[in-house]
């Protein structure tokens, strides 16, 4: 699996995982919180939480001793999924919003403004999109004896 997108999807590419992560960003921590909000079966939730712990996205923290009770918190690796959530939020707002407008708004604490963050080029600060970006093989593909998996072509319109 030579692509980071594929590697990412091997962890978060299913119907529930990013909803669990979203709930974690919204402050939910306990088994029952996730279960009530998502309406998934305990069985699946348990399995998903376990996988997220194995992958290092959540950690299981004891919050009470008798009886033993645990809650789930995002790790650094999990917190770093935020841009994926925001990208999904942005797309959903734009293409799947109901008549009422977006259900959630984001606020940038540092400047206090209600904004939707955008993808920008760190070199020139311009907003980027599929048309202004192109892909090429990186170090993980270049130094290979066998031929690259596929010729990487930039989309030509």
């Amino acid at each position: 699996m030579k692509c980071s997108v594929a590697r990412t999807l091997s962890v978060i590419g299913d119907r529930w995982t990013m909803l669990i992560v979203r709930d974690a960003f919204l402050g939910k921590r306990r088994f029952a919180d996730f279960q009530d909000d998502l309406g998934m079966t305990r069985h699946r939730l348990s399995a998903r939480l376990g996988k997220l712990i194995d992958e290092g996205i959540l950690m299981r923290v004891r919050y009470q001793d008798r009886p033993p009770r645990f809650e789930y918190r995002l790790t650094e690796k999990g917190i770093d999924l935020y841009p994926v959530i925001v990208a999904m939020l942005r797309w959903g707002d734009r293409w799947m919003a109901g008549a009422d407008g977006p259900p959630i708004e984001l606020v940038h604490k540092n400047c206090g403004k209600h904004v939707m963050p955008a993808l920008t080029c760190p070199a020139c600060k311009e907003e980027v999109n599929a048309r202004t970006m192109s892909a090429r093989p990186g170090p993980g593909l270049r130094r290979r004896s066998h031929p690259p998996v596929a010729r990487i072509s930039s989309r030509k319109e």
Copy 2:
């Protein structure tokens, strides 16, 4: 389903869809291109392409008349999934990369630099992350007679 993330995931939240979209960004268009690259069964690929067309993310374009042959191209709605792909690429590069380094690099055509785009605040231009952003109910939730689905709390560290 009151959340745009959930609405987005109802379309792209499975093991294959974003890989198909990624391949489309890399220039693949034909049934066999997707099938060879992804190794998914024709059966599933056919079903997935069909769903992506129904959702307006791909369009089916006749590229030859006898015998009739079709290819799949991203619509505007599909092209707008680019930030989701980039966010996944970025996370995969950072947390799941092999020893060789990232398999794919991105270039910003406008400035020619090899970069990884970042999420920034459109108001103050700072890069944002989960800790510098917070969520609050938007118009889609505010004007409701019945109580909000869940109290939205910002993560407090």
